[in-house]
Amino acid sequence: MISAYILITIEPGTTNKAILEMKKIEHVVKISVVAGEYDVVARVQVNDLEKLLDVTNKIQMIKGVKKTTTQVIEKELTL
């Protein structure tokens, strides 16, 4: 199982519609709207890297998405 964070920049005024589209994408397990350099942080869980590419592609195809940065998780400490 591969997990990744996708950091997304969205054009102003399109955030709500873009999030609605993102919610429909399989393998997106968490969506956080953030204030800062990025607009949305999405957490993705897939079985292989090919699927990750597929999810990233689907996010990039959403109207209003300007840029995505993918961070593949290598190790995690959590409560």
Binding site: Y5, L7, K23, I31, S32, A35, V41, I73, E76, L79
Partner: protein, 414 residues
């Protein structure tokens, strides 16, 4: 389906509270009419509970389509089928089983003393006080003023709400609440949360297996406690418990069947929010128990209560305080991501551990990409986030740059 994480927590904890209020009323009927000995009742609860929970778990294990089971569709998406325990789960199940066993015997003793669920249930909500203290130790989270304030409001609300509508306060029952039920509940809920957060085969642990195995362990420890009690005091509670399980199997099956759903929803809620926040939302049980008490009094199962306006007013004030405490608890959580870049030549794992030791850090992730580490922060206020987290991050050697991104809204797949 993706919904806001906060709403899911509320829905699960509130549903669990409504079901638990119903269960408390059924328990009152059993304790007043059928099994008056709390030790025999306690043993019978888990003895019959094993069969009922096993039956439910088997039904929910029935596969439907695409490898999914009935339980994953209706109850918990993480559930696949009833399974054996993993080695890493046993320690938590032992502690949760001891906790459940202690709290159940305490709760049934209290019920046999007071005989009014609207009095017994609010008392138990004071467990939130214990939970905030334990969390400050185990989850590196020193309570803020808001947390202390909300906890005190909930506690006072629970004390006011637990005054019997007949106007009495029983000191023996207070001792059972503070020394038996609440410590038992804390042991139980902290370890259930640890179990829910465990990953089994790379997937989140499910609430149905956790509930089934908890009943098994609680039955083992209740049997030991009842056996020891019988041996020391020469009583016959164990035999009485077996007889009660057979004679009143229908009532015990009913209460344990409904309890199953109350706990499964509670365990799922525990996997989403902190134990104290879940407990705070579940405190609404105090309000849900009032109509059930009126119903029990109407059917003459418990004595008719006073309609004294002062007593009613005190109970209403208590309920409002609990709700206020819950709202301030739930609305004051600030979450943030911190994206970190590390200078070359510094060990990432060592830096991860240093970050992990900072208060309020709930997740540290090493990633491949533009940033080396992503840290998730939970804090009650932004000031606390700055003082206790950002300043500590800046002090760590090897951190080249960081970006703080406050979370404004969040959804999670359920």
């Amino acid at each position: 389906m993706i919904i806001r994480r906060k709403y899911l927590l509320y829905v699960l904890a509130l549903t669990s509270a409504i079901i638990a209020a119903l269960v408390a009323s059924i328990d009152t009927v059993i304790s007043v009419r059928y099994i008056t000995n709390p030790w025999a009742f306690g043993f019978s609860t888990f003895f019959v509970g094993i069969f009922i929970t096993f039956l439910f778990a088997l039904i929910f294990s029935i596969p439907i389509r695409r490898g999914k089971s009935l339980g994953s569709k209706l109850i918990d998406p993480s559930f696949q089928r009833l399974r054996l325990l993993k080695k890493e789960e046993i320690k938590y199940h032992v502690l949760a089983g001891i906790g459940n066993s202690i709290l159940t015997i305490g709760y049934l003793s209290l019920l046999s003393l007071v005989k009014d669920p609207s009095v017994v249930l609010p008392f138990s909500q004071i467990a939130i006080l214990y939970l905030v203290i334990i969390e400050s130790i185990t989850e590196k989270n020193i309570p803020t003023l808001v947390e202390i304030q909300s906890t005190v409001i909930v506690t006072f609300g629970a004390i006011l709400g637990s005054i019997s509508l007949s106007g009495t306060i029983n000191l023996e029952s207070l001792a059972i609440v503070f020394l038996v039920i609440n410590p038992g509940w804390v042991l139980f809920s902290i370890n259930q949360r640890k179990l829910k957060l465990l990953k089994i085969h790379d997937k989140p642990n499910d609430s149905i297996n956790i509930r089934f195995w908890n009943v098994v362990f609680a039955c083992i420890f209740t049997t030991i406690i009842v056996f020891l009690y019988d041996y020391i005091l020469g009583t016959g509670n164990f035999i009485e418990g077996i007889a009660a399980s057979i004679d009143h199997f229908d009532w015990m099956a009913l209460t344990m069947g409904i309890t199953f759903f109350s706990y499964v929803f509670y365990i799922r809620a525990l996997g989403i929010g902190k134990a104290s926040v879940t407990q705070a939302v579940r405190s609404t049980i105090i309000i849900f128990s009032i109509p059930f008490t009126i119903l029990l009094a109407y059917f003459n199962i418990i004595p008719l209560f006073s309609t004294d306006l002062v007593l009613l007013l005190i109970k209403i004030i208590g309920s409002i305080l609990i709700l206020l405490g819950i709202v301030s608890f739930a609305l004051t959580l600030v979450k943030a991501y911190v994206f970190i870049s590390i200078k070359p030549g510094y060990d990432i794992e060592k830096t991860m551990n240093k970050l992990w030791d900072i208060r309020g850090v709930s997740r540290v992730t090493a990633t491949a990409g533009q940033y080396d580490l992503i840290v998730k922060i939970h804090t009650r206020t932004l000031v606390k986030g700055y003082e206790r987290t950002i300043r500590k991050i800046e002090e760590i050697d090897g951190i080249k740059d960081y970006k703080w991104e406050s979370v404004l809204k969040e959804w999670e797949k359920i």
